[in-house]
Subunit: 510 residues, 2 copies
């Protein structure tokens, strides 16, 4: 009854069922009907089977209402009555209009009948939140799942999951969490884990990422990762794709789908279950791409797909693609607050192959002249690269300094950084909380005026007060076109990976 | 006027002054008087020079009042009057009692007179928050700093900084931030950056770390890193030491101090400025340990000092030393919420050399029987390792499961994990917020009853609501003796490093 049913034992590296599943999958027919998968993402109407008070069906209903789904929503409950003030229907047939997409929140042993009802109603897709299928150990789940897919296919119905949360398409108000952004964007997401999908979409949204469509696809009994990749490759709304994948149904087909997509747009993959005895055992039994580390290495080497190890890294790379152009060179200037943090930020960019370029005399001189307008002494400043201007607080002082730095032509990237936590030293509510506001505003303005590629690292959030502040600033900064990160190491790593991608895919150049 | 004056250009890897400083340092006499440095940490009375309304001196005063400093505090202000309701004195001589420790918040060009006043008053230590010394480029800062130290030494006064925040000794209520813990602990901290010191102490405190003494020592013009290491080596209250160091005054002496200390107790070092053209240039000029990556590598190889790259990693290692024994083997069980997160956690432990041990049939059977008391179906559970029990919420269900897992003798470490953010799916205030409470409580109880080494990974905080919850749980869990982390990767990395330390330092064994 929780998001993590979206991930399953099916794809758990430690389960024996894992490789058996892979073997079975090879014997099943594959679908490649882009028409039918397109309809999965764009239903005109939705029904929720099992929309009972206090159960998960009610939560799905609330999500659709909160997200202003563009068509009718029909809660189905055999007992009738109302839920959340909305009339329920005793069965699908009673719904007064056609139904394209059904969210199944009923127990697994009732799903046979549901499929028949859906077929009679002309339903195109069932997203099974329902779990208890192939991910179960020592039960009849595998048989039940095969049967489910067989029946659905026979009646022309596509199956998402089972054991998933289904589709998020902000363009039509279809969502599985009330707090997902209502605006569409350019990122496509396929995510085998429901819990990870929720966390990922929320985390990315906080840093300005918006989605064309996202899908939590669970056990992938019918619609699988390869078909989803093909869909996103063809979808013109989707400019880049993020994928969290725990198992692969067909290695060769998956490789081809990745290859095709990654030739067209950035594809970032996080393989869940990429180490450990479980995965190695699975791979030694099947040789499937799912389990073999070598096969994955080959994939990354032979395609343009970008590997990440963490959800946060996936967000970082999307932010980099969204907000930064291909840099012309590797020269970075860091400016912000906190000498110690400046040093660590400098180390991070250097560690990932960037140059903390020295500031020429005329830049330092102009900067000193500017600073002298605001303070008597440069004590406590760092006037080299990294630049530390903690000791001036006004917008004009920040804006002027950043203008001077952005005007230095040898700089490819201007990086602002500050600790949110230390802004409250020595006491919460002190004037230093103003610093981070004015600095963010100044960097945004300089970026808007100069077009200099700019990133902002907002870090060290220890208290709810800090995080509230950081989230507000991140939203403001990303709206102003700044690439926002929460760690200098992750910012530098993402930039390195994206630059490598550009070098791999870009036109031949001198 | 901000904490980051605690770090300085002196030690910035990109500054030309850096290596010049190192060269100069070799020609200066060194102090090794443990008596005098002991008095630095334990003053009976404090005066604040420059305790003016709205300036930093007022903040230092507030810190001492809030921290209930054990002796008298004398704010000094030539204008007299009161500050924060406390009588000020026009000069140090007017203070009605002896003064051991002076916090200097006056401009650098007034510090000569201050030293004379301090000498007349019998002051033992001056902590110079005052900046504008050797860290300044193209000014007389170097000369001013040399003069400062020369005069102070001539009058028998020890100097902290300049450009620092000074001492935190919770045992006597001496502090430079009002929110630092009032209780003493077993960690000694030396930190060249004031801003990093504040962030580090706060971050560590949230996870149950307490300090014997900490010091922000800035430019290290008199009291330097080696002397501080010697002090902590001899201090019986200090059981382990964390150090953030940007520059080293005397490489040989530093090596010896590290070697001696690390033979006695764990020493964790973060070298700020460990990459980049600046540091390499400095090292090629002086061959000092400060700049040479090779020298640092040698240090880590030839001593027991533990290297980290981030402040957060330093906290992780302290938490590991504080809350976990040396593990007998590498077998780990992961139990918690969220299948996707379970998979990533499993990957992380595997990545760092731990074994996600398979659960024997009898354990799985007992666990299934236990779970069957609470739910009709195991749908949505993972009953392998990692174990996912998202779908049961009561204390008894969590407690029983964890008891069974802790009773599995082949397990060396029991790891609990959950995403705080997903606990609020589908809506904030739902019953799933209860899950993380009951799980934390159950893990604490099982740990208390069985003594099984246990860690709790509380991760994925995206909102202030999440972080409030996470901080509360982290406090509760660490009070119950659990090692608390905020990332499975960092938890596993810290454990790997600490296990390596134990293997390096432990008694010869079979």
């Amino acid at each position: 009854m929780l998001p993590e049913r979206g991930r399953s034992l099916l794809t758990s590296p430690a389960s024996k069922e894992y490789h058996q599943t892979i073997v079975n999958a090879h014997h099943r027919p594959l679908h490649g009907n882009l028409g039918s998968i397109g309809s999965i993402f764009n239903p005109a109407s939705v029904a929720i089977a099992g929309a009972a008070e206090g159960r998960i069906g009610q939560a799905f209903l609330a999500c659709l209402v909160d997200s202003c789904f563009h068509g009718p929503v029909y809660p189905i409950n055999p007992r009738g009555g109302e839920i959340n003030g909305i009339k329920t229907y005793r069965n699908l047939a009673d719904a007064p209009g056609p139904v394209d997409y059904v969210i199944s929140c009923i127990p697994s042993d009732s799903t046979r009948l549901l499929i028949d009802d859906c077929a009679d109603k002309g339903v195109k897709t069932i997203a099974f939140f329902t779990a208890g299928f192939s991910e179960m150990n020592g039960h009849d789940g595998r048989r039940l799942e095969d049967d489910l897919v067989f029946r659905a296919r026979a009646r022309g119905i596509r199956v998402l999951g089972p054991n998933c949360l289904g589709v998020y398409n902000p363009g039509i108000g279809l969502s599985f969490s009330s707090d997902f952004p209502g605006q569409s964007g350019q990122v496509g997401l396929l995510c085998q884990s429901g819990g990870n999908a929720i966390y990922f979409i929320r985390a990315a949204a906080q840093r300005g990422i918006r989605f064309s469509k996202a899908v939590s696809y669970g056990n992938a009994a019918d619609v699988d990762e390869s078909e989803l990749l093909d869909y996103f490759a063809a979808d013109s709304d989707t400019k880049m794709v993020a994928a969290y994948i725990e198992g692969v149904k067909d290695g060769r087909r998956f490789f081809e789908a990745c290859h095709k997509l990654a030739a067209l747009k950035p594809l970032i993959i996080l393989k869940g279950g990429s180490t450990g005895a479980g995965v190695r055992a699975a791979s030694s039994h099947t040789g499937a791409l799912a389990g073999s580390e070598e096969a994955w290495d080959t994939l990354y080497r032979q395609t343009n797909a970008i590997r990440v190890d963490y959800l946060e890294e996936m967000v970082d790379i999307l932010v980099t693609f969204n907000y930064l152009p291909r840099l012309e060179g590797r020269n970075v200037i860091v400016c912000g607050a906190g000498g110690g943090f400046s040093v660590i930020t400098a180390d991070d960019y250097a560690r990932y192959g960037f140059d903390l370029v020295g500031l020429p005399q005329h830049i330092r001189h102009t900067m000193s002249e500017h600073i002298a307008r605001f303070v008597k002494s440069e004590a406590g400043f760092m006037m080299a690269n990294p630049v530390d201007i903690t000791n001036v607080i006004t917008f004009d002082s920040h804006y002027g300094t950043l203008q001077i730095l952005a005007g230095f032509n040898d700089v490819d990237l201007l990086v602002g950084q500050f600790s949110v936590n230390n802004s409250v030293w020595p006491a919460s509510g002190s004037k230093y909380t103003v610093w981070i506001d004015t600095f963010t505003e100044a960097l945004a303005k300089v970026h808007a005026e100069t077009g200099k590629p700019s990133a902002l690292i907002i870090h060290s959030m220890l208290t709810p007060f800090d995080l509230e502040k950081a989230n507000t600033l991140a939203e403001r900064a990303s709206q102003a076109g700044l690439a926002v990160f929460h760690s200098s190491a992750r910012a530098a790593l993402a930039l390195k990976r994206v630059q490598a991608y550009h070098e791999k895919t870009g036109p031949c150049s001198a």
